[in-house]
Subunit: 348 residues, 2 copies
DNA sequence: CTGTTAGCGCATTCAT
DNA sequence: ATGAATGCGCTAACAG
């Protein structure tokens, strides 16, 4: 039980193979430093027998490099972030790095704690989607990290790499689609805007599209936004609450723009419970194109935000920076793409 | 840019505060060892000025304890595991441990690599859902870890703690429900059974319930199982394929038992595409009760497998073991609970 | 080819 | 109350 649990070190291997720790290290760390075949096999045999694996802590201390990448996301339960995590992990493993995932649970304090924790753990780089809009203290502590790539947002501090997404353009794109389909009275359902820059941009895009259309057509448009303040980490619960708020609106808008897919699917479900049919009575669009949105009923019209690719790109950028392959700044802004399914009714 | 990035160590702090590293350590590691107020403030000031955080690598090497918990799950994109991860992270943070999440991507080789990686990183404990049914090599390498808790499965090696779930009973529970509702011809849709012990148990429960019912009523039951072999990590794609296979079945079963919710939702969606209505034409049940299953259309009848709680319990057990609070074996088997929604038609 | 040793950052024992 | 020195596991510089 408790006998084999103590990890063997090069000292034990050296003793067993009747040689020095230096020789053991030379053999086991795979250098091409010359070692006699006799000692080499003796070391390999001893290592295998003792189930030796090199202690990464010792190596990190020696090299000043952990091969760990810190990742901070808002929460684990949103399917969008699952995809993103998956992209990050895939690239990390390919290149023999190890991601350390932390969620900030929509708490600035937790985010700050994570940033510090990852610095203590000597991560070689940090990939982060900040939940806060660059307050001074967060920015300062972020700057203490060696390599940073932001995603989901751009930033206020200079020269910081990011893989972002054109939320505003995405908002315009899908709002224009609703307008094209004849909708003139649209509700925007969202979690608190001030918490995330991306949400604000999305809302801006919505307003922009509405204003542009009104300007061009001289038509009178009506928009309203429903925002819940005590919003939950689990998007599904927010959707229920948002749908209830929506149902009280009078006169009732003909279309709903929900700030993300997970919430939109929940909104549709709750509307169904309330006897409001989608898309017959009201049209719904989401944002993200999570995997599930293809399988909702009705399948959700939305905007594609490439989660896996965002994670993969952010990881490639940070690993290239760490390995000195890329000194240039990488500020990437991915373009939105409209995904038309069946949740919007043409009311022209 | 590159000036402030080098982390300050106690050596720099000591130099700046005109004292020794020993004193710096005494102040900053929060011991109650007596230090003069003068030096104390000098050290604190220097540390703050240099944005000092203790290097966790150094501490780990010193203490022989990393405060890291390794976690290996089959994949990141199944919503069930998201919940589970969330439970693990919540407890870890509360007790000041740090989870390191790895996915084995349904690959035994990757699982083995992860087990070794986490040993190299000196995790204090390992929480794992093995994708393989305890082959010798995996079992042996697992045993090299100090503290192990399995979830999602029991195990073949003795005295190993686990937080499992009574899959067989769950399978019986929901199959009985289908039988009660008058279904006599039921299809079992699944990913490869041999890959996961839990799936096998679930299937066993299904068969058991069918056999028991036939025995008791002398009725003739028909069951068939559809299994796809080149199955994808993304459950949603499997569902599509499984639904297509199901549609070809003749005569067509009146009910479908899908091995998990994510796949079941996708199956329902694809059935809809194929013009087969749920539950009018065919009834569908899932397994897990992922968050989304409440919002599918129709809302999915399923069995509750408490993901967040499983993660939280497994974590509590392993942390108690690490801290020596609990020497006893913990072998916990959670009970299933039927969640009736609207995806099953009563055809009696 | 092989072995001895220093040093990465930290906490702690021992001496003062 | 303070500081010098040691060792955790590892690699590499250096000496042989």
């Amino acid at each position: 039980m408790s006998d084999a649990k103590k990890q063997a070190t090069i000292v034990e291997i050296a003793r067993m193979a009747n040689t020095s720790t230096a020789t053991v290290s030379r053999v086991l760390s795979g250098t091409n430093y010359p070692v006699s075949p006799r000692l080499r096999t003796a070391v390999e045999k001893a290592a295998a027998e003792m189930n030796y694996v090199p202690n990464a802590i010792g190596q990190t201390l020696k090299f000043g490099k952990s091969n760990d990448i810190g990742v901070i996301i808002p929460n684990f339960t949103n399917p969008f972030y699952m995809q993103l995590i998956s992209g990050i992990e895939t690239i990390c493993r390919q290149r023999e790095y190890n991601p350390i995932f932390c969620s900030s649970n929509n708490s600035e304090a937790q985010e700050a704690a994570n940033i510090e924790l990852l610095r203590r753990k000597c991560v070689d780089g940090l990939i982060i989607s900040s939940i806060s809009q660059n307050p001074q203290n967060i920015t300062e502590s972020l700057k203490l990290h060696k390599n940073i790539v932001l995603f989901d947002q751009e930033t206020t501090f200079d020269n910081c790499d990011y893989v972002s997404f054109d939320f505003e353009q995405g908002g315009i794109l899908i709002t224009n689609y609703l307008l094209e389909m004849g909708h003139r009275h649209i509700a925007f359902l969202t979690a608190p805007l001030e918490k995330r820059a991306s949400r604000k941009s999305l809302y801006l895009g919505f307003q922009q599209a509405m204003a542009n259309f009104a300007e061009a057509t001289k038509e009178v448009l009506v928009s309203c936004d429903v925002q819940i303040d005590d919003y939950k980490i689990w998007e599904y619960e927010n959707g229920r609450e948002l749908a209830r708020c929506f149902a009280k609106l009078s006169p009732r808008p003909t279309a709903i723009f929900v700030y993300n897919d997970a919430t939109a699917i929940s909104v549709m479900s709750q509307l169904n419970v309330l006897g409001i049919k989608v898309p017959e009575d009201v049209s719904v669009v989401g944002f993200d194109n999570i995997l599930m949105s293809e399988y909702s009923n009705p399948p959700l019209t939305t905007v594609l935000q490439p989660a896996f690719e965002t994670g993969a790109m952010a990881t490639k950028i940070i690993l290239d920076k760490i390995e000195g392959k890329n000194k240039a700044n990488c500020q990437i802004k991915l373009r939105p793409e409209l995904i038309v399914r069946d949740s919007v009714r043409d009311i022209r």
